[in-house]
Symmetry: D2
Subunit: 358 residues, 4 copies
């Protein structure tokens, strides 16, 4: 065994087969076109491997802390992969539209839209079939080979990162701690903050009556948003309308973790949420960059495979959202100085055994 046989280089490096070459009208840049797609697909495979291992780790009812370390490390890896492959568009854009035209007709029926690995990726992350943009009034799997289409359809009902994360958050034992009723305490702290803000405005002698009314109105408006969040029924109604996706209990846990991220036991969960936000941001940037590239290469033409090209891609940037809730939560953070203080007994549970045992 050596480098060449270990890596199956003969198999790998004979998979690039330009059609223009077979048609005896070689278009040099078709090599680049294939190379870029090949590196994308190999990286997609790697992302799927990482994602599957993450989903497996999160599937048990009781996830060990040491497994969470692996989960976070692999999400970080996926994010680094997305960072690098976003840069690959810069390489592809060294092919000019005129160079692309040399072989575009030959590959008209092949479209990135048919990348089953990318569809799998979206599904495993948690993109719901109903949230997909409809395209040419056909199901999004219609152009895949039957076997791949089945695999992609099956992934719709299999475990997703979003669902696993929701369940894991909802299981957080600290929500039910008898020493600290987090949600109630948070409600109170928020109410104190708004009362303080309103009093501050009313007592401020430098403001006119009109100014005071206007500013108090702003405070009331903000308070109403919190009131809606604190009311489980209101939340569930919002959720039914699609304004939220996480379960109510998962929302509580996500707040607890982010507001008290400096407690040792929340370090890893906080990093997990951070990496999920990074993942969402990277995926959005990748889609946006993809759309810009297609606009540049094709203008208003249809894309390869007959897709509607840039417009469709740009719209997926806005519509194919998965982890949007985690951004929304930020709206309801309050400054550390206003947070309820954790009871000592409770804080001890969030610390390491070693220290609490001393």
């Amino acid at each position: 065994m050596n480098y060449e046989t270990y890596l199956c280089l003969d198999q790998l490096l004979t998979a690039q087969r330009p059609l223009s070459l077979q048609n005896k009208r070689p278009a040099h840049d078709e090599w680049l076109f294939i190379t870029v797609h090949h590196t994308y697909e190999i990286w997609f495979k790697q992302i799927l491997i990482e994602l599957d291992s993450i989903l497996a780790s999160l599937s048990s009812e009781q996830v060990e802390e040491r497994e969470m370390d692996v989960v976070v490390a692999r999400l970080e890896r996926v994010n680094k992969i997305f960072h690098v492959i976003a840069g690959q568009f810069d390489i592809l854009e060294t092919m000019t539209p005129m160079d692309f035209l040399e072989f575009r007709d030959l590959i008209f029926q092949a479209s990135g839209f048919q990348s089953y690995q990318f569809r799998l990726l979206e599904n495993k992350l948690g993109l719901r079939p109903g949230d997909r943009l409809v395209y040419h009034e056909k199901p999004y799997t219609s152009d895949l080979s039957p076997k791949k289409a089945d695999e992609v359809k099956a992934s719709e009902s299999a475990a997703t990162l979003f669902d696993r994360l929701d369940a894991w958050l909802a299981r957080t034992p600290f929500l039910a701690a008898k020493e600290f009723a987090f949600w109630d305490e948070y409600k109170k702290a928020v109410e104190v903050m708004f009362q303080h803000d309103e009093k501050f405005i009313r007592d401020n002698s430098t403001l006119s009556g009109d100014e005071k009314s206007r500013l108090v109105g702003v405070v009331h408006g903000q308070r109403q948003m919190f009131v809606d969040l604190f009311n489980e029924r209101a939340y569930d109604e919002q959720r039914a309308r699609g304004e939220w996706r996480l379960s109510y209990r998962a929302i509580h846990a996500a707040f607890l973790i982010q507001l008290y991220r400096d407690q040792p036991i929340f370090h890893l969960p906080f990093r997990l949420i951070t990496e999920v936000l990074n993942l969402d941001s990277h995926l959005a940037q990748w889609r946006y960059r993809h759309a810009l590239m297609v606009k540049r290469m094709l203008g208003m033409r249809m894309g390869s495979g007959g897709s509607v090209g840039e417009k469709y891609l740009r719209e997926t940037t806005d519509k194919h959202k998965i982890f949007e809730d985690f951004y929304k939560l930020t709206t309801f953070f309050i400054p550390r100085s206003r947070l309820p203080k954790l009871p000592d007994e409770f804080a001890r549970q969030l610390d390491f055994a070693f220290k609490s045992g001393r």
Copy 2:
């Protein structure tokens, strides 16, 4: 003189003054917030310096080729700057929303929306006042100091990169060459191509009658787009409706340059158009990344300075377009093999003196 005095380091490095420090409640991350804004503003200043020099070069009626080399090199520089500063958002995002909340109230009235250098930059590139998103029903200069507001307003009616580029393209002498009527020849070549495509479909015995009708319909639809482009009056109507912005003559030149980019005299003009597309793409990516960062930091809250935050920023990504026409042109390219061949006499004019003199 030494490094320290040459660079006025004392002045430079005492301009970072956190309000939280002055208020005796130091928020560590306010340093980062200021540093990131400072490096942005210094880079914006550099971009404006490059842009002013480019506008000056393009202002003369007859721009020397050696000046065009400088223009292209400086646009490339601006693009490299945008690439680097887009990465700065990754640094800023190491500040978490909770860390931002520590000093956010103190700086509530300061907003990136008030960066007069960025407004100048948009105007000098060619963003038209009427194309700006209206914000809080107030003019976009309303929060600037009077002196800066005047400067920004003045830039609205001063030279812009878009206008200079349009004029420079429109002056291309080769459009009027007696040896080669480019636009007429291009029209003919396009017509030949569509007739060939239609015939190819009709003669194809493997297609059903329905298939043939459908495909011929597609060809006719594409031809109509060209017909509209080739009709100056139709073009001017589209332009009046805002669908195009370049003058008709500039459009011709942009086609000529991109279709025949391999002619020596078109090398630099082609690179110029390429760098303009890169600039547009970089600016769009910067805006999009900015919006993602704000969404992450603020959720649905109002931004600092009371701006509507992420939503406004994301919409500018779609609406504050300047160089869109250059993407649209791509739609009307045809393969090299179908391009009209340049008469030898004409090709000679596009070559170097040295060679033609041999």
Copy 3:
């Protein structure tokens, strides 16, 4: 207060003063030269601010876990800063050597070598004065203004990241645990591994006698390296010769943390070591890139300020090492399957209070 006054933009944006402009022979690219140096110096200031806060956190005898989270987050931030500013060389290189020559003579006496912030940075990280390359046979502070030179000299004997890290590692309580004598157990595991390797070779009937002798020799050579590591006196002798820098106890802790990184209490310490390695790698890449840029701009000439330019910079890449020990440790890792298993009682101490209390 608004954006402009909050950020002291008038002060910031009037600190760019090209000498070529004052001398009435404007060299356009001097603007870029100044801008690049200004952004570097502002980022260096930010790095120093982060570093000071990290050193302060690590200065107490008992660093709280929640502080370690902040320490790691700020090191990550410093690494992201280094990543971005390394990219700035790409911008500077858009200035060609001929463009630099236009103003080089004017600034001959100013050299990046005189950046006192960079000297401070090196010292605070832990570069020892004796490890510095001697330059022109003069002390490295000789070209600084007296006040800055004093500040830099003072930092030589102040706290450094290296020392704080060494002390923090050496304090690890788990090295002295009565349930698990880590160093002794590790020695035994290594010995078992080498005996197994040697037996494996001797029992291998496919190998010739010569092959066996050669391979056994390799195993013995590797074992000797471990023997030297396991002998405190041998280690101290190597350390006296400058082959190691960490204290023996810190070395033990660094092994414990990295080999058992999946134990919850080691997550943060492991990330800390990882970020220190990242920092070292980023600094090395920054130096190397800097040297390439100078070589390109100046060839074999002396640099601005009369420095010996690229050669000096490239040598600092190899010689100005600080955290080299952390790379060396890797040499002595053994596979997880061969690691001594942690006694349950001991593992419980490395876990969270909550879990162990259930």
Copy 4:
């Protein structure tokens, strides 16, 4: 035909075959290890394709300007590829040394040293066999399969980018122009500059006698470097000693192009030289980054395949130089204001036919 069949995805995506999986002791990170190597090899293949097309273009005795445009564009592409793949090391480093140890023994005999595509790449760029570091006292092809070894050996005596570039430069017709004897004029300009510098020092009443002597000594030292350059025999002796590699005539052309880069006919040649410098810089950065990664993963151990690892790689960074001459040239540039002015007649030959014909 669709996306899947066009790209031979089944072949491509079954070439990743972890040995640890076949051995029933799956090491998750072996997937990443293979993926990173696969994307590297696919990109290397693409770089070789671009390089071959560049060598073909440069092989004719008379390279058309329009072909030079393609050559430069493809070199730019290669540089963008190197930029992206350098970032891949960040992904690989998410695998920790302990994770690597899980499968390292299985692949001990496979080493990146055996990448025949990388050897081909080095040879095609122009790395001379005699300039290679000797490794384990064996030829660098000794671990390749016989067929690949032959291919690599053959490339040693085939066309290289360095040689093609040297020949192309040496053919520059303008060196022999009767209107302008460039080299003689340059010599004169340099001499005038040094006389001026010396006189400036001697006439400077603020300098002491000692200062004057010292500074005049510096000027004389610099002049001597130019004298050696201007003497063809001295140059050839330096070249025989390996201090220069380009032919004397190629050196002249490289100066002419870089000093007078603003002449239209030199735009493309200047960009070509710039991209060659970029390529050299990218390759150096890639090697340096590679060495850092190996140091981190392996410490002082031997690399996979038994290579001496980081030390060898770091040394190749310094020793495997190809285009070093182009950096050295910079040393001998003089400011634009001191350059000999081009005679009008000559300048006209460097311009476009169109303009000169008016």
